[in-house]
Every structure is written in C-alpha cells, then in structure tokens.
C-alpha cells in the first residue's frame, strides 16, 4: 500500500495536501498560523485584514450551537500596517500563507494587498454576513465584486481568490462576476446569516444581534454552492463549510472542490488537518483512486 500523493498545485501555488485553514479561525497572529501549519494544514489563511484597526463587535462574539457555531466577530483586525509583521512570522511556517483582505471599495482592497505584499495568495472577503459596509454588503453586488477583483488582480503579485457568500439568490452570478474580474479561484462559502435569542431574557445573544452560522449545519448548503460553481465556472473552486472529517472533505471534492478549507472544526482539535489528510489518503488507497478522480466526480456520475 503506497501512500497516494496528496500534494496539489492550486492557482500555481504548491501545497503538500489540499487542506487549508479557513479565514478568521486562529488567524490573528503569525505564531498561531504557524502552529496550525505545523499541525498539518497544507496552507493557512489569515484573519481578514482591513485598512484601519477594528476591535470588532462587542462580546458575545461566538458560541456553539447544537449543530454548529454562531459568530459575529465583526472583522477585528489591527490594520494591514500592524499585521505586516504577523504575516512575516506566519511565512516562517513554510506552507503557503494566504492573506484575507476586506474593504469597502476597490481602492481599499488594492491598498491592503499592496501593504501585505509577500503573501502567497490573496483571498478577497466579500462575504462576511455581519459587518456593515463590508463583506456580504459588497459581495451581493456582481458589478462591485467584478470591480474589486479586477483592482485586486492589478495590484497583487500573487493569485487572487474571491470568497463568496451563500446569502444570495444566485451564488453562481457572483462567482461569474469574480471570474470576469480575473479571479484565480473562488472560495465557497462564508457563514450563513443567522441569529439566536436567549429565551431567559429575550436578548439576542450576539453582541451584534445576528451573525453567521458555521460548522456541520451548513455543510450541505456549502456542498450545493460548490456543486453549482464547479458546473458554471472555469476557475478552481475551493470548498469550505462544515468540514470536520475526511468524509466531509471527500464529499466537498466530489461536488467540485479542488481543495478544502476548515474553520470551526478546529474546536474539536487542531489535529483536524492531519486527520482529514490521513483519512483522505486511506480513502484513495482503498478505492484505488487519485485525488483528481474524485474532484467533481458527482458531475460525471450524473452525466453518465
């Protein structure tokens, strides 16, 4: 039983395996990103970085639900100027470091990318469901997404990924806009707009009142989005949403993802990247397959 090769080339970037730390999870500091890289992630995405320091929304900012997690961090970040050093530290890990970037308009994205040069790729966060003026407010407008992507591509010396929100009538239209703007890949999905209320008092629990759902609850939603994007787009799709084990990763890849991001599942263990990679490896060996065989397999089955 030879170990199958799980290394991939993603938008020109080499990775030892197709698991990636998702944006905003353990991505506040360089040393935290390094730790996750050392636990087996094939690449890591930083928390989303903006133009000015932001403390984020008031606590509570995140808690666990029965089937997932609700969060409204509010894009806390120390600004790209302060984050510069964290990025350099993260790069010491040896795995690709993707800088997640958010802004209100194309110029902001360009400025931040410029300030964070040296990242192995840039992920444009046009999809955070709970930050006014940013994220999904931007990411539901195809024209703006196209413009932002184009601006980012002009500035960036590295691939540009666009992270999409599922909170739209037609995610494919937004994915197509990103592709038209020159995106090297799309990432789907960010969290699903949600809310929880404390029944003892009537107060919404999150400091921001509402937020985004992540974890197992949204996995089937993410699979559908990835399936549709794979069908419609020519650029790679990176799958994210509720992946907690190799089975979830295989499913996401069969839907069309060429790599997967993992966020909330870190709650269970930081070793999730290693666990998924090993499980994937055993799955491929036992089925006599290579990674490329399973990427988009569901489309080929249905086409048969």
């Amino acid at each position: 039983m030879t170990k199958p090769d799980l290394s991939i080339e993603l938008t020109g970037m080499g990775m030892k395996n197709p698991t990636i730390l998702a944006a905003g999870v353990l991505g506040t500091t360089g040393s935290s990103l390094k730790r996750v890289a050392n636990s087996g992630a094939g690449a890591v995405v930083t928390k989303s970085i903006g133009i000015e320091p932001k403390p984020g929304h008031p606590n509570p900012t995140m808690f666990k639900l029965e089937c997932g997690f609700l969060n409204a961090m509010g894009l806390p970040n120390p600004s790209y100027k302060e984050f510069r050093g964290e990025l350099d530290t993260a790069k010491e890990s040896g795995v690709p470091v993707i800088a997640s970037v958010f802004g209100a308009h194309p110029d902001e994205f360009s400025k931040i990318i410029d300030g964070l040069d040296g990242a192995d790729a840039y992920e444009l966060n046009v999809s955070c469901p709970h930050a006014s003026g940013y994220g999904a407010v931007v990411g539901t407008d195809p024209l703006l997404v196209e413009e932002i992507t184009r601006a980012a591509k002009q500035t960036a010396n590295a691939p540009v990924w666009v992270k999409l929100t599922p909170n739209v009538t037609d995610i494919v239209a937004i994915g197509e806009a990103a592709q038209r703007g020159g995106a090297d890949a799309v990432v789907a999905i960010n969290t699903v707009r949600s809310m929880a209320i404390d029944i003892h008092s009537g107060y919404p629990i999150l400091g921001n009142l509402y937020g985004g759902l992540s974890g197992p609850a949204i996995h089937p939603v993410a699979v559908k989005c990835v399936y549709d994007l794979y069908q419609a787009l020519d650029i790679p799709v990176i799958g994210v949403g509720g992946i907690a084990n190799y089975q979830d990763a295989v499913e996401m890849m069969m839907a069309g993802a060429c790599a997967v991001q993992i966020g909330s599942a870190i709650y269970d263990s930081i070793s999730v990247f290693d666990d998924v990679t090993m499980g994937l490896s055993e799955y491929l060996v036992s089925h006599g397959l290579v990674l490329d065989d399973i990427i988009g397999l569901a489309h080929r089955k249905v086409g048969l």
């Binding site: 353990l26 360089g30 040393s31 935290s32 996750v36 606590n59 509570p60 808690f63």
Partner: protein, 256 residues
C-alpha cells in the same frame, strides 16, 4: 452551548473593589477553569469560578462595574466551564496570589486541603483592605501577606516574600495575579529551576472563549489561553510574550 441563565442568590462585598456573586447554578469545574459571563445588552467577559456556583469580580470597567452593582435576583448568562484548570500535584504546594488572582486559586486551595496537601499561600494586594480570601486561605494552610502600601503584612511585593522559602521544597507552585507580578514570579521560579513545576493562570483578551477565533493566542507558541490554558506550566512561558506585551481586541500588540 448557548449561555445558561444564572440567577444571583447572594452578593458578597469582599473588598472595596471586589464582589462575589453566588448564583443558582453549580458547575462541575476543575479549579482554575473559567466561564464567559454575559451581562446582557452590554458585554461578555471571562471570569474564573471562585466556587462552583460563584464568580468574584473586580471592578475595572463597564462590564465588571455592572456585575459589581448587581443584586440578588438579577441574572447573568454563563457559558462554560471552559479551558484547562490547575492540576493538583504533590504533597506540598505553594500558592502565589495577587489581587483578584485569588479567585481561581481559592477552589484549588480547598481541594488540596481536602486531600490533606500541605499548603502555603503568599497573598498580595495593593492595600490591606484589598486582600482577597485571606480568611478562606487561612483555613487551608499558612498564609503570608504582602501589601504594596504596607498596611498589612510585608510592605512590598509578593515576590519579596518568596525569598523566605526554599522554593524547591514545594512539589508545585500555583500563580495568579497581575501580568507583571506573574512575570517576576516566573523569573524567580526559573532561577530556582522550578518553572516546570509551576502553573500560571493567564489573562488575555478573550472573544470566543472556546479556542476557535484566535484572539487569545500567545507568542511564540500560538497557545490559546482560553482552550490550551488559562492554566499553563511555567516552562511553556519562558521566552514568551508574558510580561512583554499582549494583544488588544484588534489584535494589536500592546507593551506592558
């Protein structure tokens, strides 16, 4: 988990700035574990459990002021217990507490006392009135007191009292207090080659409290204070950010 509703059943004014809130919910927690305390409509902040049903709050800002002003019958939201607490090891232990740092150490002292462990406590505060849980600690073991202003016990810092003991006599040393105090204690324990036999309860800015968001990680290990801590062995802290800087809510480094 969503916050549990905890109704305040007793309010104890421990010191002019510190108040204990006893609630109607009893948590099964190890000494040193913490809860996220939700002051509805305002903020949610981490607090050690000073007893399975109690938190002990020092008034420092908005949330702690609101907690300090609560009355019996008021309620708060509680998530937890979370994190890694103290591990009780050995037959002879030293506790070093500064200010409200006594809160997580009290249940440890009580547990150790119940198990017949020999306990020495070095208790420090700004001033005599602010000494927290002196009486309770006294029931568990010997207590040496230091105050910054000399109003009670030794005039000076807890670190100065440490020299009265042969630190290597202790199987384990447990520390909680202001960052700079803990940093100096770590230095002293390090000199005595006791860093691996010491446990520190750390403070960092918490957001999620459950090890996901990354707000509370420390350099250079990337340890999450909320999940891998708050209690961390001293040897993990040598050459760390402890005493040098921490990060604020934005993630920006703030020097000490």
């Amino acid at each position: 988990m969503k916050p549990q509703n905890a109704v305040i059943t007793e309010v104890i004014h421990e010191t002019p700035t510190i108040t204990t809130l006893k609630t109607d919910i009893m948590l099964d927690a190890a000494p040193g574990q913490f809860v996220m305390v939700w002051v509805r409509g305002l903020d949610e902040v981490p607090m050690a459990l000073s007893q399975p049903d109690s938190i002990t709050v020092q008034r420092v800002g908005e949330a702690t002021a609101a907690l300090s002003d609560m009355h019996v019958g008021d309620s708060i939201g509680i998530r937890g217990p979370f994190g890694k607490g103290f591990e009780l090891e050995g037959d002879r232990i030293l506790l070093i507490a500064g200010g409200v740092g006594s809160a997580p150490l009290l249940p440890l002292a009580q547990l150790a006392h119940a198990k017949g462990v020999d306990i020495t406590v070095i208790l420090g505060a700004r001033t005599g009135d602010e000494l927290l849980f002196e009486q309770q600690f006294s029931k568990c073991g010997r207590v040496s007191v230091a105050t910054d202003d000399g109003s009670k016990g030794h005039h000076g810092f807890v670190t100065e009292l440490m020299s009265q003991f042969d630190l290597t006599d202790f199987d384990q040393c447990y520390v909680c207090g202001p960052e700079l105090m803990m940093d100096r204690v770590l230095d002293i324990l390090h000199s005595a080659e006791m860093e691996a036999r010491s446990q520190f309860s750390l403070h960092r800015y918490f957001k999620c409290g459950i090890g996901v968001c990354g707000a509370c990680t420390i350099d250079p290990s990337g340890l999450r204070v909320c999940k891998d801590g708050p209690v961390v062995h001293g040897n993990m802290l040598i050459n760390s950010e402890l005493g040098r800087y921490h990060r604020d809510a934005t993630g920006k480094k703030i020097g000490h």
